[in-house]
């Protein structure tokens, strides 16, 4: 009797879970389907739910007209800024944990920088970039993403470095390692899981940013989210390009979720939950 009841409850939970999965997965399926539909299928009425074949004309169009460079621009700005933010942020986090410069105030100031809405600082930064000649350049976007992600990196790495016992570093110092060697050979390897997870999230933030890219790029370093919005014209909407370009932006994120699930909780909750 008990087992029978449990079986029903499990089945009910499974059905509800599948309904939820359907709700969250279907729009992405729809996007993917549009990216491989032929134009006739995209504009068929009633809509076609399952593409009859794989039509890559949307992707081909992106390569032919050069729009695919937007994905490259996103990749370059997101990767380089991630590397820079991780280096500067890890060093700063290490300094904060071990030497406590400025005490708690410095940490609180740093994390508070993350709460500023981008739109509030977008125009002053735009003016600054105009005067420095950084508008529509890789350097400009990279510096900006680095600066914007640093508070997050420092906050997260601070949490991970706090978990490392200082005695380990002491003995490494006594063994004659330099401070630099202690950081690269003891601290980072000890915190590598957290380091990696933080880097992934830093990359995601830069990869998905829209507002700064919209304000600070014109034609040379347009990133993929800006490019996607460009396909919604006032006269016509380029559905297959929207589908294809969006999928190029989504695919790396699918990879992230598939391979890094266990890191995601802590990264998202800014360390509030130890996932």
């Amino acid at each position: 009797m008990r087992r029978w009841e449990n079986g029903w409850r499990l089945a009910l939970r499974l059905v509800l879970a599948l309904v939820a999965v359907g709700f969250f997965a279907f729009p992405i399926y729809w996007l993917a389907a549009i990216s491989i539909k032929s134009p006739e299928e995209i504009f068929a009425y009633p809509p076609v739910w399952i593409p009859s074949g794989i039509n890559l004309s949307g992707y081909v169009a992106l390569f032919r007209n050069g729009d695919v460079w937007a994905v490259w621009n996103s990749l370059v700005t997101a990767s380089v800024s991630t590397v820079l933010a991780m280096i500067l942020g890890t060093l700063a986090a290490y300094g904060i944990v071990r030497y406590r410069p400025g005490g708690e105030n410095l940490t609180i100031w740093i994390i508070s920088q993350r709460m500023i809405p981008p739109i509030c600082v977008a125009f002053p930064i735009f003016l600054l970039f105009v005067s420095l000649g950084l508008v529509d350049t890789f350097v400009g976007l990279i510096v900006l993403y680095t600066a914007f992600n640093l508070p997050y990196v420092i906050w997260m790495m601070r949490g991970y470095i706090q978990d490392i016992p200082p005695e380990l570093e002491q003995s490494a110092l006594v063994d004659g390692l330099s401070r630099w060697a202690v950081i690269t050979k003891v601290v980072i390897p000890m915190a590598r899981g957290g380091f990696f997870a933080t880097a992934v999230f830093t990359f995601i933030f830069a990869w998905n940013d829209f507002l700064f890219a919209l304000v600070l790029t014109r034609s040379e370093v347009v990133t993929y989210p800006v490019q996607v919005t460009g396909y919604f014209g006032s006269q016509s909407t380029f559905w297959s390009q929207i589908g294809a370009m969006s999928m190029l932006g989504v695919l790396p994120m699918m990879l992230v979720v598939a391979t890094m699930q266990r890191f995601i909780v802590r990264g998202m909750s800014m360390g509030a939950v130890k996932g």
């Binding site: 499974l14 709700f23 279907f26 504009f43 009633p46 300094g95 977008a122 125009f123 508070p151």
Partner: protein
């Protein structure tokens, strides 16, 4: 030996600041410079017709008070946050309960649910715009099947439907965030306490109120804080779906500030708006922080 210790000590004082300095410098670039610039611009008169850098006092701040479009944008933002946040929280909690105990394919299903949260809000907005297209989108077709006749609902154009449309996209994208964090928090709730409460004959509601809620509260507060701040500055998803339209129906404070700065080139006025937003947010965060200790 003594020399070595001194050397290390000297090194440390330098290190104390040298390690932090580069990061602080880069953050100041977006943390200090824009503020000074905003403060200056907001008391000058910079428009598309030219930059008048003389002191103009609080004229732009006075204009804020009588700007109905601003107050409606602010109201839209607060309303949107106040509606979306509880929905995401409750749906996320229910989902977390669903996935708390063993389930076939649990990890895979969770991974699929997470996807909306890690994609760009621009892509989320674009996806829902395609989903809700009056003719070629599947949503209207589904509704048509249910009510038994074809419909052409103009989700992003009809003023009374545009907010629900945006809300669906927002809830779709961020409920998984709440779900994941609550799932992690719920799995950390002490099993023994739960069982003890059940042995004592406590009802489900009592167990939730006395055992579960206190245990997950710190995490809930931080999740609400993170999402609340994000919702208050919402821009991307609405921009892709409606650009704040029809008219100014879905204009939030971020969209209004963008329009003022980059479309109408009312630079000084947009600086005053930005300042107002920062002040409001600072008050909100301080009030929230007073109730929780965010720093571990």
């Amino acid at each position: 030996m003594t020399a070595r210790v001194n050397e290390l000590a000297d090194n440390t004082t330098v290190l104390k600041y040298a390690l932090v300095a580069p990061a602080v410098f880069v953050i100041l670039l977006i943390g200090l410079y824009p503020f000074v610039q905003l403060a200056l611009t907001s008391v000058q008169n910079v428009t598309m017709f030219g930059a008048d850098n003389s002191f103009h006092g609080a004229v732009h701040y006075e204009r804020l008070l009588g700007d109905e479009r601003l107050w409606s944008a602010l109201w839209n933002t607060i309303w949107f946050t106040a509606v979306a946040l509880p929905i995401e929280l409750v749906l996320g909690y229910l989902l977390a309960l669903l996935f708390l105990q063993p389930l076939p394919l649990r990890r895979t299903l969770i991974a699929i649910i997470l996807l909306p949260t890690v994609i760009s809000p621009i892509v989320a907005g674009a996806t829902w715009r395609l989903m809700l297209d009056q003719r070629f989108g599947p949503v209207n077709q589904l509704i048509g099947w249910i009510i038994g006749r074809d419909v052409e609902i103009l989700w992003t154009i009809n003023p009374s439907l545009v907010w629900p449309a945006v809300l669906v996209a927002e809830v779709w994208q961020w409920t998984p965030f709440m779900f994941l964090i609550l799932l992690a928090a719920l799995s950390n709730v002490d099993r023994e306490q739960l069982e003890a409460a059940e042995v004592d004959g406590a009802g489900a509601w009592t167990v939730f109120r006395k055992v579960v809620l206190p245990a997950i509260m710190p995490v809930v507060v931080i999740a609400v804080l993170i999402r609340g701040l994000d919702l208050f500055r919402v821009f991307d998803v609405i921009w892709t779906m409606t650009q704040g339209g029809p008219g100014t129906r879905t204009e939030t404070i971020s969209i209004y500030a963008y329009q003022m700065a980059f479309r109408e080139f009312e630079i000084s006025y947009s600086a005053a708006i930005a300042f107002l937003v920062i002040v409001l947010l600072t008050i909100a965060v301080l009030v929230a922080l007073r109730r929780v200790e965010i720093a571990r």
